[in-house]
Amino acid sequence: MPQLKIQNLTKRFPGVVALNQIDFELEAGEIHAICGENGAGKSTLIKILSGIYPVGSYEGDIFLDGQPATFLSPTDAGAAGISVIYQELALVGEMTVAENIFLGREPTRLGRIDWNAVYARTRELLDRYQLPLDPGARVGELGVGEQQLVEIVKALSQQTRILLLDEPTAALTETEVGILLNIVRELKSRGITCVYISHKLDEVFAIADRITVIRDGRSIATHQTAQTRPNQVIREMVGREITELFPRRPGNPGEVRLAVKNLTVAGTHRHRPILEDISFELHAGEVLGLGGLMGAGRTELLMFLFGVTGRRVQGEVWLNGKPYRGTSPRDAIRGGMVMISEDRKRFGLNLAQSIGFNLSLASLARFTPAFLINASLENRSNQALFEALGIKAPGLETAVETLSGGNQQKVVLGKGIMTEPAVIFLDEPTRGIDVGSKQEVYELINRLTDQGKAVLLVSSEMPELLGMSDRIIILSEGKIGGVFTREEADQEILLAAAMRHHHQKN
């Protein structure tokens, strides 16, 4: 008998069927991956299993150990042994590791918190799973990977039998991903069932016993991992064959749009330069890739050029053939630059507002002949962009918070494009979005360069950098580590360039 069985589960929202007669079985002690594009219904499934959507708000049956499960709240699900690690961590930065783990369930003696018990029991848990964490460390001072571990320990401290991990590696470095995967294996060996939700097929194939693919709210297939291959899973996720992963059509580079000459930049609060002697030219119709290791200064370069942070020490920036001296995002946008940030929820979107509100937000001056916004002009532009980008939503008045990650990313891109920029900075434009949406973003990049726009693309994914750039600049410790054409570059050469100044320093 499966430990958990889902039968004919359907969840409707106004105007949308998020889950459509899903079936799913979970064997005790297995690691079961769920793969699907953003918007396929993974998050909804998790929210039903964890009791956020209570029984009665969906159709169909859930059986836990053969008994019907009727969760009315996350507390019920927790009591039944189901815990969730969400993409967005829910920790209190000002509190210690131990305080966070026992938050809301503090052991008490005579009505006062028994701090000895809190720390002793945390120590015990950390030792049992051999986790390198200090119970007394302040959570805000830990890295994202360590914070993730705290979340997991928190879940384990409450007699968890089934652990749901929702995109747990989205914000982790490679090393941290390795540690996390080992912990999941360790949990399995202790008999804890894990549901692992991820876009990253290499992780899924490294760890899962079985893989279930869902698409458009339906369960498509369940495989034994050993008996399938990534290509098949991708095909099932997308519902079509993806022949060419990186469909870059090299354009005809035109005149120089952005020229950076011997630029040295200091951090706003630090004296040591964060960027040193940077020079490059970005041409119309070109995709210039910007690579490097974490902390090499890629985002800092974009942030400086866009007027967000950093202080010029020396050097020049030329925009469209003229010296550029802007100091704010407003100046940058007026000069014809636009930046699409890697953190779209924080830096890109007004989640509670509509798609239309967000699309036109940075371009309102264009729709305002005198004092009032011309609603006709605005809606016409919004509608055109909405259709051109293929945003999947009922209409322009849909709130952005209800969209999937890929569609939210399209809205952010649309807002940038609406300003009619000559130069576009893309910072990790495909982070956290699914294979199908990635393809659409790549296709969009092609269309933009066809129109003569210049694109500066920051990416941590080597294949993306190699696949989508016409030329590649590698930053290393804030300096240029190397410049390569598409033909010259391969992963080894780029990695060597990224390490160049590390060697010098050591």
């Binding site: 929202f13 106004p14 949308v16 998020a18 953003n38 918007g39 998050s43 909804t44 929210k47 866009f306 967000v308 704010s328 995002p329 407003r330 940058a332 946008i333 007026r334 930046m339 940030s341 924080r346 830096f347 890109g348 979107l349 007004n350 989640l351 509670a352 507002q353 509509s354 509100f357 937000l361 940075a362 309102l364 001056a365 305002t368 004092f371 009032l372 916004i373 609603a375 006709s376 809606n379 016409r380 509608q383 209409g395 322009l396 008045e397 709130a399 918070e401 209800t402 969209l403 999937s404 990650g405 939210q408 807002k415 300003t419």
Partner: protein, 380 residues
Amino acid sequence: MHDNLSIRNFSLVIALILIWIFFGLMSDAFLGARNLSQLSIELAVTATLALGMLIVLLPGLIDLSVGSGVGLIGGIASVLVFQHHYPAPVAMGIAVLVALLIWRLMGTLIVRQHVPAFIITLGGLLIFKGLFWLVIQNATIPVSAGNTGNIYAALTTFYLPPIYGYLLGAGIFAAIVYGSLRARSQRLAHRFAVEEREILILKLIVIFQGLLLFVLTMNRFRGIPLSVIILGTVAFAVHTITRHTPFGRHLYAIGGNEEAAVLSGIPIQKTIVLAFTLMGAIVALTGFMQTAYAGASTTTVGDLMELDAIAACVIGGTSLKGGRGKVLGVLFGALIMASLLNGMTLLAISPELKFIARGTVLVLAVWMDVRLSRNTPWPA
């Protein structure tokens, strides 16, 4: 952005009707033409200030200094008129300039020196109260000298002659009909969702009856009060500014997500300074109306009005975190607050109980709002 007939809007209407039924049963005078005329003047004062508060709350700020400011600005105008014999328009012009400068300065301090609005305006609350008492020397300063009327006093004593009241009502209704039909055809042209034609007609009929009832009632006393016309003008202006200008969109954008607003090239500092400057203009206008309604500047004019303004906004669905709020909601919130105060005064309820009742209504209204808006939107 579309105004839906949601449960929230109805709950405000129901609360209002219950309040009116209660006071109507307790006192015959409450629903009489004379009292409703008074109530409408009191509403005009409360609601005008609340509309200014909306402009400040939308980008996620707050202004606690407006109550003291109402006293101070009204006081400056009174002193200039009564003691220095300035013509009323000149005195009011000077007072408006003072208000614009003060609120501009507060806005500038908030954005340039990064002192939280809560603290700047809390300081303002105390400082303006002190300045106010200095200006009027703790005395009672009438808004006009002797028995001569002036435009200052007329703010709450002038009534539109009945015939003009009917004309104004008809004009407003015609404008509403034209506006809704035009908006509807534009929405259809852009393939946006529109309400059923029957619902629209029903809405227009209700609006027509409401307007007619209002004009008839006001005309049974002295006519439509000038202050109500001022409120209508301010409400229309604030609605237009918040909904149909880049400045207004920017207010919502800053309140909704300030970091995203910065990266979208929105001039945050300019927007906030302008929001506070507009607040200053509205404080001045409210100061004149409130002082004129009291007949003179006395030390208590404006007391706690900042709290009524915030309460009206919040009851009307404005978020204290910013990014959410509408003119129509604020007007309803102000009507609820004004009705309560008016009714309690009519029943000669003691000041102690009045405070308790106002506080209770505020808490109840927000609690109701939280309960009703707990419908989670569908997720990704």
